[in-house]
């Protein structure tokens, strides 16, 4: 288990870094973040989106067996469940740090505003997490029937929660770039992509760790690879049509947002990190299913995950960097946003935590059951 020890150490270090960043944010608040009045939402929101979507994506992958009964995916279900829980907790951590006054959250219960998509986000994700935990409890109790019932509820809650993210952005009156009925669908696509990629990494690593690891990866990995390919294609499709509509439709706000990505301040991050890492490289690696190797799949998944994180960041920022056209005129300059070290540390810490707790669960539950 040498590599596991190394990974534990690395992930602990990453978590430590995250903890330092979190401490800095708790101590110094907005001053250590790159956010401004012009760009109120920054990297922490992107981090939240990454984990929140990943969690639902993992749940959806698990539902392939639980809900839709696709036998081939049965082996990944339990792992998808615990990864989903860790992910959503990391997401909560990120948004908890983003909130300026998190202690006031009890007002969500005592003074709810039903027209607020963030209120629904909190509620749906809380319900989702609740049932997700219930599922795990029932698995532990070996109550197969309840697992099925709760899983179905969780899938519905998860789908609502992740598509509601599209609404969280879409309801922002001032930001046309985020609006439109396609946004909830977009978040489901991203969730699936993220979920598939995380599962590929998990099973590829388990394959590497054989004979100690046990994940039935030989059968699963090519399947997951093909799924990832489909999701990447869907993601690419979405981006292409959405941005081309935004540019040629020339709607106020959407046009400016698309310009930010295509030729504006985020163009490098868009073309290289998003189009390159989330779409082109995975497509290249995954295009011919006959040629899949575990290594290839692992790389495709890792690279697409990195790309997806930047896609989230691009999405969050593109809606804000083009200045609000309150007063028409041509002397506009883009808003400035630069992710700060504290913000980077949270995504690194979150990934570290995902690795660390995955290993912990693997070792505590899966290896022991496998051994038994």
């Amino acid at each position: 288990m040498d590599s596991a020890v190394t990974w534990k150490r690395v992930s602990l270090l990453m978590m430590l870094l995250g903890a330092v960043g979190a401490g800095a944010i708790l101590l110094f608040g907005e001053d250590v973040l790159g956010t401004t009045d012009g760009v109120p939402w920054g990297s922490l929101i992107a981090t939240y989106l990454f984990f929140a979507a990943a969690s639902v994506g993992l749940t959806l992958m698990a539902s392939l067996w639980y809900v839709f009964g696709v036998e081939a995916f049965k082996p990944l279900t339990k792992r998808a469940l615990y990864l989903a829980i860790i992910s959503v907790l990391m997401g909560f951590g990120a948004i908890g740090l983003e909130l300026g006054r998190p202690l006031n959250m009890f007002w969500l219960i005592f003074s709810p505003n039903f027209s607020s998509a963030i209120w629904w986000m909190g509620t749906l994700y809380a319900v989702y997490l609740g049932f997700r935990i219930l599922c795990v409890y029932c698995i532990y109790k070996n109550d197969e029937r309840k697992v099925l019932t709760f899983s179905r509820i969780t899938v519905v809650a998860g789908l609502l929660a992740v598509s509601n993210l599209g609404s969280v952005f879409g309801n922002a009156q001032a930001r046309p770039f985020w609006q439109g009925a396609a946004m909830p669908i977009y978040f489901i696509i991203v969730a699936l992509l993220t979920g598939a990629a995380i599962l590929i990494i998990t099973f590829a690593m388990l394959e590497k760790a054989k004979p100690l690891g046990s994940g039935n990866g030989e059968a699963l990995l090519p399947l997951l690879g093909r799924l990832l390919l489909y999701f990447v294609v869907a993601f690419g499709f979405f981006k292409f049509w959405y941005l081309s509509n935004s540019i040629y439709g020339v709607n106020p706000g959407t046009y400016e947002g698309a310009k930010v990505l295509l030729s504006g301040p985020l163009s490098l991050q868009f073309w290289v990190m998003e189009v390159g890492l989330a779409i082109m490289v995975p497509l290249f690696l995954l295009a011919r299913p006959n040629s899949y190797t575990n290594g290839k799949l692992l790389w495709a998944a890792l690279i697409s995950l990195a790309g997806v994180f930047f896609a989230h960041q691009n999405f969050v920022l593109a809606g804000q960097l083009a200045p609000l056209q309150v007063i028409p005129g041509d002397t506009l300059m883009y808003q400035q946003y630069q992710a700060m070290p504290a913000e980077w540390s949270i995504i690194i810490g979150g990934i570290g935590a995902l690795i660390y707790f995955s290993l912990w669960v693997e070792q505590k539950y899966f290896r022991s059951t496998a051994a038994a």
């Binding site: 608040g29 907005e30 909130l99 006031n104 003074s111 607020s116 209120w119 007063i327 028409p328």
Partner: protein
Amino acid sequence: MAKYGMLIDAGRCTGCGACRIACQMQWQLPPEIAYNRLEHREKGTYPKVKWEITPVQCQHCDNPPCLHVCPTGATYKRSDGIVLIDHKKCIGCKYCMVACPYGARTLDHEKMVPEKCRFCADYVVQGQQPPCVSTCMNEVRVFGDLEDPNSKINKLLATGSVYQLLPERGTQPRIYYVKR
């Protein structure tokens, strides 16, 4: 019941910034937090050029996007139309900042509350004028009761040609601007 509103004759503004700092003093704000701002535009080319300055602040919308998105109802609208923030309910999610099409909110880094123009709520009910109105040498702003047919603002609204900012957004602002 009064319905407070404001008329801004932006064409009279020469950008001195007295409104910003009078407001900061009124509410004892730190230097970098301001509840109103000026948008500068140059129109035309040298030497036929216009420099247009437009004061912008919370529009106290009748249909406020910031209120709709606030998860805890911390942002609320009084019966006199003034949109205010209940600090004790605010979770600091900044959704209101993202949602406001006027960019009217500014984050108070100490309280972590997205703040904005308060229409000097506590003072105007006593019959006082907001200092951004009363200190302005060019008399850019007129504040008053939109329900009172005899108020100065209503008389001006009846005679002048006015517009609102981003009317297509359906926010129904309570601030009117005089056409240049």
